[in-house]
């Protein structure tokens, strides 16, 4: 049995979030994301900084036990206390004891959200106030954060004004309206709370083992007040936040603001070595000078202030086990900058309340939730990752977030209740996946089998698939959105066509290069036109092309996106076996479908033997990247179709962009005289099977909305990926062509 009810519920929940929060979330996340591009562009060596940041985290997690010892030594040397808490209850009990029912001000910390510390302290009689403005808004509204950096980005200014007016019972004349007035109002209210506070609770973005210091990254200054005013400071952080030395902070200081909100640096990066030397600001004794009279700047700058007390609570809560888990371990490198959320097409539409597990949101949330809450929680929103990979270049510590999602999806599949097994799809293909696997996943993961059946029975198969009852059943049992047009299978596959025209047309002696055109499942069975165009284009540039029937096997990309890792591995092995002999014979592999190239490039080293993966990746090219290379090396473009100034709108596949291959297509089109506009959106919202699924259809269309805005009247639209083409078709009402079809000889 599939679960039609939960699917419908999910669709309704997403629709509600799109309606109520979509606009505010979209504006903010897209704003952060564009700002990130600008801010990282002016870094001299962004890629080197990311590599350095990654290396520091790798080393730190590797040496974690030793660093924790060093950190303890440094903290205790200054008279502070360090406590490692096993789980949330343990951490909350410790902090509760320190707080002892007093007034607490808090600076935003996701780790304390994870622990539900506020609830625990309040249950113990404490009065807790969040001082980050966004977090305070949520506290008043009794809501969960929707974004790890901007917790309240889903709220509009009007919504906040209403909330303040209602909470504080403000008359019309006192009601703050503008962002400026709202900020002022919040500042004053919160200052009153800070004055009264006995204990300040903060998180820590980084902890340095050599000095016992913590870095706190903020723009508002609330963390500084939280630390400096009360005499007792409790910092709560995950054990993974430790880095070896102060000097190791340098790359993170340059990366964190840029990655998160696109600021080159946030207003304040506090480097506190608590207990700090600052005298507490005691408003109960407001007329006594805070410092010893006569003290000057720099005096006593290394001595802890005698009245200060400091507790560092480091939380394990599953993290040390993640460290032992080869696939989840990378999650611990995360610096919680939020870039993966901001660069995510789906997150840009529905924000963290759709992604949310218990605490974390966006791309990396799956890793965190799987590690700290368990698979069930992670499973709730793991589906929302389409595997488009746009978060990969955004992540400052180079975490392979899509891979973590794939792994968790695989584990969720395996954990599925065998009782949910559906015989309807069992026959599609035998595979190594568990019997309880969701039927829709099985369908999309086995697209290769479906395509074979489809071509063999076309055009009957196409006609059958459009019939109402069939679609209704597909919707009900497989979750295939009724609105979505299904691919039409061609009777004559690309391989058949190539054979029937008599094989290669460029003789070995005349060939500039020799290439195998990889007949991916979709090109071979559905988009045969683009395959034919690719053959003609390469031949016009002097390439001896072959399209071997033996290579007409799936790359494993489809099952991978459904989390069917074992099935993907089998297909990847077959694909490598089919293509590597050609590579060994000195031929290049030309790939039309960017997601297949991405699989060779990014995932095969996890699926097949490392050196096989490397050899295949090194010798495979996206088709227009290959054309670009041929033209650069002197091939004559004369035989291709020139643009003569024709305007074209081009949307690169998300994975192609991640691989840095968008520019080659644009350069080729430019060179042939096309007037090219490129799309600015991260992802069209389709990404493989995503837009086919009924619960995500509306979301998928919303993600594609920027494309409609930009390309609505563009005329001729080109797209390099299969799914992008289908999505553009659904969005614009006209199918997009592959760029190779535009440049191919008439």
């Amino acid at each position: 049995m599939s679960k039609p009810d939960s699917r419908a519920e999910k669709a309704a929940r997403i629709a509600h979030l799109l309606e109520t929060e979509g606009d505010a979330v979209a504006e903010n996340t897209r704003g952060f994301n564009f700002a990130r591009y600008d801010a990282t562009e002016d870094l001299d060596d962004y890629e080197a900084l990311k590599r350095e940041a990654r290396a520091i985290k790798e080393d730190a997690i590797e040496r974690l036990p030793e660093l924790l010892d060093d950190l303890r030594g440094a903290v205790e040397y200054r008279g502070g206390h360090l406590y490692v808490a096993e789980d949330a209850a343990d951490a909350n009990a410790y902090v509760s004891e320190v707080v002892d029912g007093a007034n607490v001000v808090k600076s935003k910390s996701m780790t304390t959200e994870e622990l539900e510390l506020n609830e625990a302290l309040e249950a113990d009689g404490a009065h807790v106030t969040e001082t980050d403005l966004g977090e305070w808004v949520l506290q008043l509204a009794d809501e969960a954060p929707s974004h790890i950096v901007g917790p309240a980005i889903h709220k509009s200014r009007e919504g906040i004004a209403d909330l303040f007016a209602e909470t504080f019972d403000l008359g019309d004349d006192e009601r703050p309206e503008t962002a400026e007035e709202l900020t002022r109002f919040a500042r004053e209210r919160l200052l009153a709370e800070i004055r009264e506070a006995d204990v300040g609770v903060t998180g820590a973005n980084f902890l340095t083992a050599d000095s016992g210091s913590m870095a706190l990254v903020t723009s508002e200054g609330n963390a500084r007040k939280t630390v400096v005013v009360p005499d007792t400071h409790v910092a709560v952080a995950g054990v993974e936040k430790v880095v070896p030395t102060v000097e190791d902070l340098a790359p993170f200081v340059e990366l964190i603001g840029r990655s998160g909100t696109g600021q080159d640096v946030t207003s304040y990066v506090s480097l506190f070595t608590p207990p700090t030397p600052s005298p507490p600001v005691d408003f109960d004794d407001a007329d006594t000078p805070m410092a010893e009279p006569g003290t000057a700047a720099g005096d006593g700058a290394s001595e802890p202030h005698p009245d200060r007390e400091f507790h560092l609570v480091l939380v394990d809560n599953g993290r040390l086990a993640m460290r032992e888990d080869e696939d989840l371990k990378e999650t611990l490198y995360c610096i919680r900058c939020g870039a993966c959320s901001n660069s995510c097409g789906n997150f840009q539409s529905v924000g963290g309340h759709a992604f949310g597990g218990e605490t974390y949101s966006g791309g990396i949330a799956t890793g965190w939730e799987a590690g700290v809450e368990g698979l069930d929680t992670a499973a709730e929103f793991n589906d929302l990752c389409t595997g488009c990979t746009r978060c990969v270049p955004a992540c400052p510590v180079e975490i392979d977030i899509p891979w973590i999602n794939t792994v968790v999806r695989d584990r969720v599949n395996r954990g599925a209740d065998p009782g949910t097994f559906d015989p309807l799809v069992e026959g599609l293909t035998p595979d190594d996946e568990p019997a309880g696997l969701d039927p829709a996943k099985r369908l999309f993961g086995n697209f290769e089998t479906l395509a074979r059946l489809g071509s063999a029975t076309a055009p009957l198969s196409n006609w059958g698939a459009t019939l109402g009852p069939v679609r209704a059943a597909m919707d009900r049992w497989l979750g295939v959105a009724r609105e979505r047009e299904l691919p039409a299978f061609e009777r004559e596959t690309l391989v058949d066509w190539f054979e029937s025209r008599g094989g290669p047309r460029v003789s070995e002696g005349m060939a500039r290069r020799e290439a195998v055109l990889y007949p991916d499942v979709y090109t071979n069975h559905v988009a045969v036109d683009r395959g034919r165009a690719a053959v003609r284009t390469l031949e016009a540039l002097g390439v001896r092309v072959t399209v071997p029937a033996s290579a007409a096997v799936g790359s494993g990309r489809a099952p991978l996106s459904q989390g069917m890792i074992e099935t993907a591995r089998g297909k990847a092995e077959r694909c490598v076996d089919a293509l590597l002999p050609a590579v060994d014979a000195g031929r290049d592999v030309v790939v039309i479908e960017p997601s297949d190239l991405a699989a060779f490039d990014r995932e095969y080293d996890r699926l097949v033997r490392d050196d096989d993966a490397e050899r295949l990746a090194a010798n495979s090219y996206e088709v227009l990247e290959y054309v670009f290379g041929l033209l650069e090396n002197g091939a004559d473009p004369g035989g291709l179709t020139a643009g003569d100034g024709e305007a074209v709108a081009y949307h690169a596949h998300c994975q192609q962009r991640t691989l840095g291959l968008e520019g080659h297509t644009v350069a080729v089109l430019d060179r042939l005289g096309y007037d090219v506009t490129t799309s600015e959106t991260e992802c069209c919202g389709m990404a493989g099977s995503f837009g086919y699924k009924s619960e995500y259809y509306a979301l998928s269309m919303d993600v594609g909305e920027p494309l409609v805005e930009q390309f609505g009247d563009a005329g001729r639209v080109l797209a390099s990926g299969t799914s992008c083409g289908e999505q553009l078709d659904a969005l614009l009402g006209e199918p997009a062509e592959h760029p190779v079809e535009a440049v191919a000889p008439e």
Binding site: E220, K225, V228, A296, A297
Partner: protein, 169 residues
Amino acid sequence: MTADTVQTFVANAERHHATVHRVARDEVAATVAESVDPPAVGVRLPWDLALPDSVATDPTPSELDAANTGVTAASLAVADYGTVVLESDAAGSESVSLFPERHVAVVRAGDVVPGMREAVGRLGDRLRDGASAVLATGPSATADMGELVIGAHGPREVEVVVVEGGDDE
């Protein structure tokens, strides 16, 4: 430090909405006097530099609360970002730089370093020795109320007085 580094600092600090004055040692008190919006509190400067009488040192919490301006030293500045490094100390520099709506920071030209890496490098031994510091860039800000607002919990205005021509150059 080269004049270029200071120039870069000025440009980047201004980009982050700070105002920068470059003055000689004997002009510091007068420049600070012009930069403050009274009432002002401050922390005695090192380097044999005096504050004007309009700035009250050894403030009480009430004075801190009532002040419109806080004046402190900055131990370093970072040219590439327009950042000043404010060290915490027993005199309460951290609070004085944070509570009032306007912060005036005094830094020596010779303490302007080119990049973050140099700044963090210099802070390494200081922190290992127990010091605390804030890398502060421009005024405080928030985007949580629906659009970017300058001035949240910290100052809305930042002025930096760069002292040129001392022994340190």
